[in-house]
């Protein structure tokens, strides 16, 4: 992961939803918690 730069070089970039991990890449019913 060669993205790490020294603090003074880092500039916040915009959030790109296409690059973001979500377990379910589709609309899902709210069943994300399985408890009892």
């Amino acid at each position: 992961m060669p993205h790490v730069k020294s603090d003074d070089q880092r500039k916040p970039t915009a959030l790109d939803t296409r690059k973001v991990f979500r377990l379910f890449d589709r609309p899902v019913q709210p069943v994300t918690d399985q408890s009892n």
Partner: protein, 333 residues
Amino acid sequence: MSTASVDLFSVEPDRARAEAVARPIDVRLRESFEHLFDVAGSRLGDTREIADWLASGVPLRGMAHVVHAQLLSALELEDEYLLARVADAIAQWPGEHGSLMVTSLFGGDRPYVLDTLYFDVCDEGSRRTYGHFLDADPLSDDERLVSKPALQKAVRRWARVDPDGYAEASALISELILVHSDTSNAGSSAAALGLVRISHLKPGQGWSRYFEALAHEAGHQVLNLLLSADPMIENDQERLYGSPLRQEQRPLTAILHAGFVLARTLRAIRRLEADSLYDPATDEVVSAYNNARNEASFAAKFEDCRATLATHAQFTGQGQRFFDALPGLAYDA
């Protein structure tokens, strides 16, 4: 290992399958971390150590999912307080995870801020799924003295009687987190993949209650991975149905979860009872998953799920094959 020889949608426990399904999730999670670190910039502090760990290619389980989920929430909501907590967690995060480790919530097993991030992720899932806050507190010292060795015994017995189930879970679950909870039994959250929370033993309960929980929760962990690869049910959004495990009505994917974990439980109990160490006087598994106040047998609950799914679910190809294999898992495997 090539995935060509692995049946990704097998219902039976399979460590190689679990690793094969988890691998692309790890890649996506690693790339997402990289992007989120760029988005957060210097607000996260020094991320070099954890970035190196992520880049090393180790499997990412448990707290890695929690930290990612909270980092994503902080950036989406522009929540600087949450972002500061994530930065604190990253600074202290040991950057490693174990396998089926028995730990406790707020019990000093990890940096305190990680406990708070885990609790909040599960609380959010609980409120979104069931409409109520998460009921999970720290164990008392007395509860820890009783519950921890009981859970460790259940893990050892599981490894003895069901080595395939144990091996699969070892690849997926980093921690079994004991909590004090008077109203909940055990749970898994999709935003905290690899972490299972289990409540303290109540009077009259023994280690076999935890044996059921291991088979049950490991099933949820596996199915969450499979559902990320294929939705299995195409009409999940349409309406809700009765569940033998819950009081409230549930979507079809949740009924599939219930049917699958019940089939896995039937399989594990069959192995437990066939083992020479099994003592029916002390080791019988009486279901502790009783939110629905349903006294029916495991098999009857399984058949309840199967009937609902057979009548109402429109399966994908993989979903149909998976569903058709469930009776074999429940009764023969």
